[in-house]
Amino acid sequence: MTPRALRAIVSARLRAERRSLVFACAGAAIVGFIQPHGVAAITDPLTADVATRSVWLAGPMFFCSTIGIAIALMQGPGRHAFLDTSERSAPLFGRELARAKALAPVLCATLAAFVYWAAQFLSGFAAPPAFFVLALACVIASTLVALNATVSSGAARALAFVAAGVTIVIAYVLAVYADAYSTKSGDAVGVATELIVCGIIAFVALRQYGESLARYDPL
């Protein structure tokens, strides 16, 4: 696949979903501003650490991942039939098409996560950049898992939804608890664990999406 074809697919998909992108960013900005950031007075440092992390991470992880899943589902067949037909009839392998098609919702979700973080920053409760990276890893992984629901039906579709939800929960638990409980070894252990797990899930989900696209029957 040429970089030009990749750019063409991604830009066509982003243009087709520009309204959704604006709504996603607007929603992320509003929720980022209004999300409560207060933590009750806690004396135990570990409990305080967990509470702080959960306050910082719950919003972006759960809300922005939901946005990512919603935008991923919009890539399903039927919504932009002319794009689907053109992409399917182009001489591209399933894995190449999967990468290009996945990039658009991933970029939308990434932008929404960034807007959320910016809103937190402007409201005076900005999380450290490492937390943004943790939330982003969760958002990307769950978006890629949800993409599999667009090319499946019945039980397989339901399974993809459940898997996307489970991905968010796993990433959140790892980011909050593994990070908090690994303070003795440094935050790097917790951060790395979450990033590696999300990376593995995203890789497997993208491969599966490519396989599904190669086998997909449009009729």
Binding site: A8, A81, F82, T85, S89, P91, L92, P218, L219
Partner: protein, 175 residues
């Protein structure tokens, strides 16, 4: 040598047989119209002819390739024009041509020139129907598969297709 060959091809979707035992031979530069009993059958047959759908039974060969094994090679040979018009409210013609040229790696300047030539040949046909045909012909395919094209403009479309083999899939009773 055949550019498209179908032997005892069947297509079954969710227990419903859309195509049963279709046989078809299309030589390079040949034009063939195939009548189908329903729109769904026409769509299924056209998509199998362009390597977009896989036959449930029988064999399809596009050029020398089997779409089940080498779909990418088949898609380099065959171009598909869907029945539905291009939604011009979602994408304008120039952008669509640039998009199609990028997907098939056609030089942008050459694509614009070719699109203009094809557009002139398809003069009179509404842009929403003309541009999918222009887009399909941009990479100079060897086979053009048309799913229920606007019947009144078929001679014009065939002229625009030049020496490319054309399979027109129509429904019975449609004029």
């Amino acid at each position: 040598m055949h550019i498209l060959r179908m032997r005892d091809v069947a297509y079954v979707r969710r227990g419903e047989t859309l195509v049963s035992s279709a046989n078809l031979d299309l030589a390079p530069a040949q034009r063939l119209t195939r009548l189908c009993s329903s729109a769904r059958e026409a769509e299924a047959l056209a998509m199998m002819g362009a390597a977009l759908a896989r036959a449930t039974a029988g064999s399809v060969t596009i050029g020398e390739y089997d779409p089940r094994v080498q779909p990418v090679h088949c898609k380099r040979i065959a171009a598909f024009v869907p029945h539905d018009p291009l939604p011009l409210s979602q994408i304008d013609a120039a952008r669509y041509i640039a998009y199609r040229a990028a997907l098939w790696d056609v030089d942008p300047a050459r694509a614009r020139k070719r699109a203009q030539e094809l557009g002139e040949q398809l003069d009179g046909l509404h842009e929403a129907f003309a541009y999918p045909i222009v887009g399909a012909l941009l990479p100079a395919p060897q086979l053009l598969v048309l799913d229920r094209p606007p019947s009144a403009f078929v001679p014009q479309i065939l002229r625009a297709a030049g020496d490319c083999a054309v399979l027109i899939v129509e429904t019975e009773g449609r004029t």
